[in-house]
């Protein structure tokens, strides 16, 4: 009998394409249909990956309900199966998928909430580091600090949105009965895990640009300038205090001019 060139490839393709014919050469005990048997594998793939997504996106799931979530997860799994055996990160592509998912068009904030949940898990699994003590920063000369750049905590994640994603996340995570959002305003989120627990905060005006610039390696002065340009209400002292509270700062790197001894 001639061997198929790629039997596992055919098996894998039939798992993900439910319209595909069964792979050849499968047997069940005499008289029992092979189709139902193969469907167990198809179901296992969908159910297992669907459960992984449900675990990673509890707020999205609560917002859309179980039946909607399962149907959406199924489409996502078949369109974008995992590319790694580490399911800890599976679903990074879900926000972009949601944006193109017509049945979710009525919920324009859903993709950003999914981005926030991705950020939450990235923070959860991030490497350990000890945040700087606020006192250590207090003794740094302001001029020295402004020229320095930030060593940020590896768990630090930023999500920007035109929707109140932090408020949506909070009530869907903490409240048995979801509270209506009273102020429907844009919210940027800071996610960090300075110790054992993930923390989530809403950023003050300009805060997102400030931290994004620091993440990109800018000095505190340059990051403050970028934040000021983004929002006239940007307040450097308030933002520094907020990032220390979040445990987002691990250390500071002296600016180049200071290193050169000027």
């Amino acid at each position: 009998m001639p061997q198929l060139a790629d039997p596992q490839g055919g098996f894998a393709a039939a798992l993900l394409d439910h319209a595909a014919a069964l792979p050849p050469g499968l047997v069940a005990p005499s008289g029992w249909p092979v189709e139902r048997r193969f469907r167990v594998y198809r179901n296992n793939v969908l159910a297992g990956l669907g459960s992984a997504l449900e675990l990673r996106f509890p707020v999205v799931r609560r917002l859309v309900g179980e039946a909607f979530f399962r149907a959406m997860a199924r489409d996502f799994v078949l369109a974008a199966p995992p590319r790694s055996p580490l399911l800890l990160h599976y679903g990074e592509g879900l926000p972009a998928f949601i944006e193109g998912f017509a049945p979710a068009a009525e919920l324009p904030y859903l993709a950003d909430v999914a981005r926030l949940e991705n950020a939450w898990w990235r923070a959860y699994h991030a490497a350990e580091a000890r945040p700087i003590e606020p006192a250590a920063l207090a003794v740094t000369e302001p001029a020295t600090l402004l020229m320095a750049s930030a060593q940020l905590h590896p768990s630090l994640q930023l999500v920007t949105s035109p929707h109140p994603i932090v408020a949506i996340w909070a009530t869907n995570t903490q409240d048995e009965t979801v509270r209506p959002i009273t102020a429907w305003t844009a919210q940027d989120a800071l996610v960090s895990r300075p110790g054992a627990a993930v923390e989530l905060r809403s950023l003050p005006p300009g805060g997102y640009r400030f931290l994004a610039a620091l993440l990109a390696g800018a000095s505190f002065a340059a990051a403050a300038e970028a934040a000021q340009a983004a929002s006239a209400q940007f307040d450097l002292a308030c933002n520094l205090k907020g990032m220390l509270e979040a445990g987002a700062l691990v250390g500071i790197r002296p600016g180049a001019e200071l290193e050169a001894g000027s």
Binding site: R37, F38, S51
Partner: protein, 292 residues
């Protein structure tokens, strides 16, 4: 050389139980984790596993290596396993007679293999490569299956025994998988267990299965790990320690995870079966006493 697991009941570690285990320090022989759940850089999973590892022996169980794949092994994944083993020093590492990835795509299921000479040679190569990379003996687990392959020319038992003989690996006997496959394919589960190369078995798995039916009305069992171990699986399990003496025995409950006392009760039941088989352990106890 890693030590071996104690010949007692162990439990699959679930995040739902981290705090209870640390607070109550239950008398459990060992804990087993799925390696892939601890491959993040840091965070709570590592914090809890480190604390639990300080108090209990650990078994590392892989679900993502895809040893049966018709492609080369994922070397990056093998390196992650090695790092995890160096960090936690588990008593042993086990994986499955199955494939789960095709190329880059991870299918997240333990998929079936034809038992042919060609598959055998490939798996022996892969097992050898894993054992060389990890510097230790691997235990290979018998699968639950729902279909078989026309082209298979080996029985599953002979196939596993030959892999063990050629590669030097040990075997993990999942008694629930035997029962599930026996029901699904219409063979006698007792005969399978009796014919299994028990001398190579380093660990036993017990888990729950979900009964369904196919179009012809035949019972189809799904290896769901979502409920208590079924009575016929307990009866099948009792045959093993009666012949081998006590072996490390894991309770797997991965979905619809129960409160800790219910899981612990399953472990106690396995411990009772092991205790009933204790006389076989006499020589080992004697040796230890003499050495001590």
């Amino acid at each position: 050389m890693p030590s071996t697991l104690p010949c007692r009941a162990g439990v699959g570690l679930k995040p739902e139980h981290y705090r209870t285990i640390l607070a109550e320090a239950p008398a459990v022989g060992f804990f087993e984790v799925h390696a892939e759940n601890y491959m993040g850089a840091g965070g709570p999973p590592h914090r809890y596993l480190s604390a639990i590892r300080e108090r209990y022996p650990l078994s590392l169980h892989g679900v993502g290596l895809s040893i049966g794949a018709d492609r080369p092994l994922d070397l990056a994944h093998l390196a992650r396993l090695k790092a995890l083993i160096q960090r936690y020093e588990p008593s042993q590492f086990s994986e499955h007679l199955a494939w789960s990835s095709h190329g880059e795509v991870f299918l997240n299921d333990l998929l079936p293999l034809p038992y042919t000479d060609a598959t055998l040679a490939r798996i022996v190569d892969h097992v050898g490569q894993v054992q060389d990379a990890l510097g230790q003996r691997l235990l290979l687990e018998n699968p639950s299956t729902y279909v078989r392959f026309e082209e298979s020319s080996w029985s599953e038992i002979d196939f596993l025994a030959e892999i063990a003989r050629r590669s030097g690996c040990g075997l993990l006997l999942d008694v629930n998988n035997v029962f599930v496959s026996a029901t699904n394919h219409g063979f006698a589960a007792e005969a399978y267990v009796d014919a299994f190369p028990l001398g190579e078995v380093g660990e036993i798995h017990l888990g729950g299965h979900a009964p369904e039916a196919d179009e012809a009305g035949a019972v189809l069992l799904i290896d769901a790990h979502d409920r208590a171990v079924a009575d016929p699986v307990w009866q099948l399990y009792e045959r093993v320690p009666q012949r081998t003496g006590p072996l490390p025995t894991l309770i797997e409950w991965d979905d619809q995870v129960p409160a800790w006392p219910e899981l612990l009760a399953e472990a106690r039941r396995a411990d009772a079966c092991l205790a009933a088989a204790r006389p076989h352990k006499q020589p080992r106890e004697t040796r230890r006493a003499a050495a001590g």
